[in-house]
């Protein structure tokens, strides 16, 4: 028996297939994960992500603390409610976790971190918060619902009174606001517009039912994984971990090297890594039928189509329901004396002993319901 969110009974009642996910009993799907995936791309889907951990940081020096703790710079957050995606690094540059930081007031930020890393994240944050006099509070009283899809915001706002509805629909992309008893964020992990709703766990089952009554379709972790991979978003533990730094995990855009005097944990290691070059995370699209999976080996294709040298491996692979083709993120290193395969290049992936051709692409694969990759 694992940990249960306040919505566990709702999942069971909806015939969810329950699996263990980082110690939590979570819904994998409610019948068909592909149908759930399409519902999010075309209309609106509903995810229970209460296993993720909201952490409130309070104190006069909270901003200074986060400028030290995170690889991206919360100084960028000027307007209350704005959010920032960032990695939290070891001094080695390895990724402890990726998270979203919401700027609420000058003395209050909220972080949302992954479920599987909750314990180590909290102990790391507490260890470094002390010197800044920042109070760290785990908000396990909150449930988190993600409502995602082109119609997600309107269907969510329909649950609110007229006054609150206007406020909800006025929230900018990648920002959040307190609306009624909700903390409402226009963020997500699907590549679609939508909300993440943080609310008291006791209210979660009723809100779940009301969203379903609006025609929002419950979707499980299976669809969540295919949606995030189509959106080119990393999964912690697959696409990065403590042995890999953001620059080799497709996350260079989340590292703020400027201003140079900002002393964040991992900075020195990243400055060295940046000068050295090395592995990169790229997208792959399989040219034939089949499914790409984690840890499949990727190699260069010689001119005659035979296998060349090793390049790396798939870090996340799946079947893309939108493209009807297998896609992957893969960490590749340029072969000795050779060049890194560029978008458009053909590589070979070892799928259970068969070498199958895949094309290197630049993620994301799908955004806002539209394929961004041409299928040949």
């Amino acid at each position: 028996m694992g940990l249960k969110t306040p919505l566990y009974d709702s999942h069971v009642a909806a015939h969810a297939k329950i699996i263990d996910f980082g110690g939590w009993d979570m819904p994998l799907h409610y019948g068909s994960q592909i149908e759930e995936h399409h519902a999010v791309r075309r209309d609106a889907g509903l995810f229970d992500v209460s296993h993720m951990c909201a952490i409130d940081l309070t104190g006069a020096r909270t901003r200074a603390f986060l400028r030290h703790l995170l690889a991206d710079d919360v100084a960028r957050l000027a307007v209350p409610g704005r959010a920032l995606y960032s990695c939290m690094l070891l001094p080695s540059g390895g990724v402890i976790d990726d998270l979203i930081a919401y700027f609420l007031t000058d003395s209050w930020f909220r972080l949302v971190v992954n479920a599987g890393t909750r314990a180590k994240d909290l102990s790391w944050i507490r260890k470094h918060a002390a010197a800044f006099g920042v109070d760290v509070r785990e908000r396990s009283d909150l449930a988190i619902l993600a409502v995602q899809g082109p119609n997600a915001r309107v269907k969510t706002a329909a649950l609110l009174s007229a006054v609150h509805r206007g406020a909800a629909l006025g929230i900018q992309r990648f920002a959040a606001a307190a609306v009624d008893s909700w903390f409402l964020a226009r963020t997500g992990y699907t590549g679609e517009d939508g909300f993440e709703i943080m609310l008291p766990g006791t209210q979660a089952p009723e809100t779940w039912r009301a969203l379903v009554a609006q025609g929002v379709r419950p979707a499980g972790l299976g669809a969540r994984d295919t949606l995030r991979l189509e959106a080119g978003m990393n999964l912690y533990g697959n696409d990065m971990d403590e042995t890999r730094h953001p620059l080799e995990s497709g996350l260079a855009w989340t590292v703020a090297f400027d201003p140079a005097e900002r002393d964040f944990i991992g900075r020195d290691a990243l400055v060295r890594a940046r000068a050295h070059g090395g592995a990169l995370l790229v997208g792959l699209v399989l040219e034939e039928r089949g499914v790409l999976r984690t840890h499949q080996a990727v190699s260069t294709a010689a001119a005659d189509g035979s296998v060349g040298g090793p390049l790396g491996e798939v870090t996340s692979g799946t079947f893309s329901p939108t493209l009807n083709r297998a896609i992957a993120l893969a960490r590749l290193e340029p072969p000795p004396g050779g060049r890194m395969p560029q978008p458009g290049a053909r590589v070979l992936v070892d799928i259970r002993g068969n070498k199958q051709a895949a094309r290197v692409v630049k993620p994301p694969f799908v955004r806002n319901g539209k394929p961004l990759i041409e299928i040949q």
Partner: protein, 131 residues
């Protein structure tokens, strides 16, 4: 949700089903339990016609979004036909595992003794025990 185990078929512990056809061949597929455990099927690879199979030999692959799984031939024989429709519609394995989702038909090898297969009751019991 209860999984279907039709009475008129035979089964293996690796979750294949076997149907005896009037022409003496057998039709083979994966069970309702197997498709349900795998989730949405997105890719199916079935053996070439005329390929000779030993009983227990890995001969087909079914891949769901979640995982790839081998299918083992329940009997010894020669592949007489394969379900060509599955290459475009792998979801037939989910929607109709005992019908339109069949994988292949096998002409039994007369020289090999009949394989030991489970009856419907035995397979149901096996599912219950492995829960």
């Amino acid at each position: 949700m209860s999984e279907q185990v039709p009475q008129d078929l035979q089964y293996t512990k690796s979750h294949e089903w076997v149907r005896s056809l009037p022409n003496g061949q057998v039709e083979v597929g994966i069970t309702d339990h197997a498709q349900s455990a795998l989730g949405d099927l997105v890719f199916v690879e079935v053996p070439q016609v005329d390929r000779k199979l030993a009983a227990g030999e890995a001969c087909a692959v079914v891949e769901s979004v979640k995982a790839a799984s081998d299918v083992y031939s329940p009997v010894a024989g020669r592949v007489a036909a394969r379900n060509e429709e599955l290459s475009q519609k792998p979801e037939l394995l989910n929607s109709d595992p005992y019908g339109a989702g069949w994988l292949m038909r096998i002409e039994l090898d007369a020289k090999t003794p009949a394989a030991a297969l489970l009856g419907a009751g035995e397979y149901q019991q096996f599912l219950k025990e492995s829960e």
